[in-house]
Amino acid sequence: MTGTGVTNVLDVRKLSKVYGAGDTAVHALCDVDLTVRRGEYVAVIGHSGSGKSTLLNMLGCLDAPTSGRYLLEGLDVADLDERQQAVLRNRQIGFVFQAFNLIPRTTALANVELPLVYAGVGRRRRRERAMAALALVGLQGREDHRPNELSGGQQQRVAVARALVTSPALLLADEPTGNLDSQSTADALGLFDRLHASGRTIVLITHDDEVAERAERVVVVSDGRLSEAPARR
């Protein structure tokens, strides 16, 4: 499932999501087409309720689309059962959430190790890779701290380390700076820039134009429809 021969990490065709049925049906997404190439840094912007979070949930295999096709690394996600989707999330996707979503009462190191545990990586290699990921986000020396002992910006960096530790094909970030102060936001965005520079594929969702400006490509979601933003500069 390495799919290195595929240039498009993401390939979404006519993806729709409908909540409810009949008169009360809500079309959260309508016929969305989106491709993301390897190494691209894409920002998805839109107002609250525009459907951008729904799109991210589809891309992260957290929710199933009503219709349309979604290829991740050339693999049709609809063909996979629950267990295979779990493996896909584990190997190919790294999530960074707005609310950090660290496991409480568990050290930073254990949090970063968690995806590797589910991947079946042995204890020693797990520890090495988790320490390396924490070092990458600048948190060496904090591995034994619990989430409640870390600042918001540090927690988000732990979350980024956790997302990176499996070397996923795609980094999905949902409002990663939404709960951070301006200094931490700058730090986090700097981290994303560095990851992009090192060749990571990043899809970032935000409602903040300043955050979106750091991406090399911006798409706009509005009323469940997607459009490319005009090229900047």
Binding site: R89, I103, Y118, A119
Partner: protein, 402 residues
């Protein structure tokens, strides 16, 4: 992912909520301790009663005359010395060690101005081992005494106390049995209360010839006491007695017998059955508390799953397969119930160290094994539903929950 990791996650989950885990365990601890303690009580009572019955003389068999049912069409024959001789025949009854004819009457016994009521038992010297009666002071009567028809008696402890004062030794004194003078040649060892069919403390033992010659006349026997060769031979001896007496009394249907055979073994069997049923009843009551404890586990695990829905969502987003989530919560409930079960066994065992009246509870090893097995099964059974609910949560719904 390995089982070790699943167990580690489960232990972490339990330790995070120490007090709650402990209280949930308490339900199982109480249930298992109750099962261990109550079955131990039943078992201890059973062993105590078995010991008491063994004191009756495990080899002793008593044959009593019985009124046959009306459908038999006959009033039945009495037990006679002819029956005794037939039972004493080693050809027909190889498992019989000794046979003692017994005549018995209830009458008053006088010594000076004292008078008491007693049961006078006339028999032969083989009656002493046959009925498991021990001589306290003096001597037993002998075959010579029987042949000569000597009027000699041994007094049961209660009779001796009533006539001559508590703890006295009346050997050499005289008593009047229904006005007939007898020499006291000994007393019987005290047997204690409630030793079974008859209480030898209230008996007066004399040679059968003397009792027949001066008190009852030479008629039918009151009973025949048979001693089997060994405890193991008892059942065989009983069936030999049955076949010999059936033949002599012309009985074709065992329903119509004009005699009955009683033994300590039969008594033990009946008591054992009764106690077994009683122990089972106690265990069933205790088992109810186990079920209540199990429901407590389901309840707490459901609360735990609801409370940790978000954590489950995070784990799923990071790639936890349904089986890992199922395993984590199932192992949590199994740990709760098995640790509770082991602690329950310890508490129950500690409880049995408290002596209760005459007997001590005795823990059944099988109950310990069953208790631990059952508690593991409870963990799986009562933890399965919450664990499945956790495993089936959709990641997106789990993540949305605050």
């Amino acid at each position: 992912m390995s089982v070790v990791e699943i167990v580690r996650f489960a232990v972490r989950g339990l330790v995070a909520n120490r007090l709650r885990s402990l209280l949930t365990m308490l339900g199982i601890i109480i249930g298992i301790a109750a099962v261990i303690l109550l079955t131990a009580l039943g078992n201890g009572a059973s062993q105590y009663i078995q010991g008491q019955i063994a004191g009756l003389g495990a080899n002793s068999i008593t044959v009593l005359p019985r009124q046959p049912p009306e459908t038999a069409g006959t009033s039945g024959r009495p037990l006679t010395t002819g029956d005794v001789q037939a039972l004493a025949d080693p050809q027909g009854a190889p498992d019989v060690a000794s046979v003692s004819p017994v005549v018995q009457l209830s009458t008053s016994v006088d010594a000076g101005r004292s008078r008491t009521d007693a049961i006078v038992v006339g028999s032969t010297p083989s009656y002493f081992p046959g009925a498991n009666v021990q001589v306290g002071t003096g001597r037993a009567y002998t075959d010579v005494d029987v042949e000569a028809g000597r009027k000699v008696v041994l007094l049961g402890r209660t009779v001796a106390d009533d006539l001559f004062g508590v703890g006295s030794d009346p050997v050499g004194r005289d008593v009047l049995v229904r006005g007939v003078p007898f020499d006291v040649i000994g007393t019987l060892a005290p047997a204690g209360q409630g030793q079974g069919l008859a209480n030898p403390d209230e008996n007066v033992l004399a040679p059968i010839t003397a009792v027949q010659g001066s008190l009852t006349g030479f008629g039918d026997l009151s009973q025949i006491v048979v001693q089997a060769r060994s405890t193991e031979a008892q059942a065989a001896a009983e069936s030999e007695i049955n076949s010999i007496l059936d033949r002599r009394h012309g009985i074709e249907d065992s329903e119509n017998r004009d005699y009955q055979v009683l033994s300590a073994r039969q008594l033990a069997d009946v008591l054992d059955d009764t106690l077994g049923a009683f122990t089972l009843l106690l265990a069933a009551i205790a088992a109810i508390s186990l079920v209540v404890g199990g429901i407590g586990i389901t309840n707490i695990m459901l609360v735990s799953v609801t409370e940790r829905t978000r954590e489950i969502g995070i784990r799923k987003a990071l790639g936890a397969p349904p089986s890992a989530i199922l395993g984590q919560f199932l192992v949590e409930s199994i740990i709760l119930s098995v640790v509770g079960g082991v602690l329950g066994v310890a508490v129950g065992y500690a409880g049995t160290l408290v002596p209760l009246g005459d007997f001590r509870p005795v823990v059944l090893p099988s109950a310990v094994v069953a208790a631990v097995g059952v508690s593991a099964a409870i963990g799986i059974f009562f933890g399965a539903y919450p664990a499945r609910r956790a495993a089936r949560l959709r990641p997106i719904e789990a993540l949305r929950r605050e």
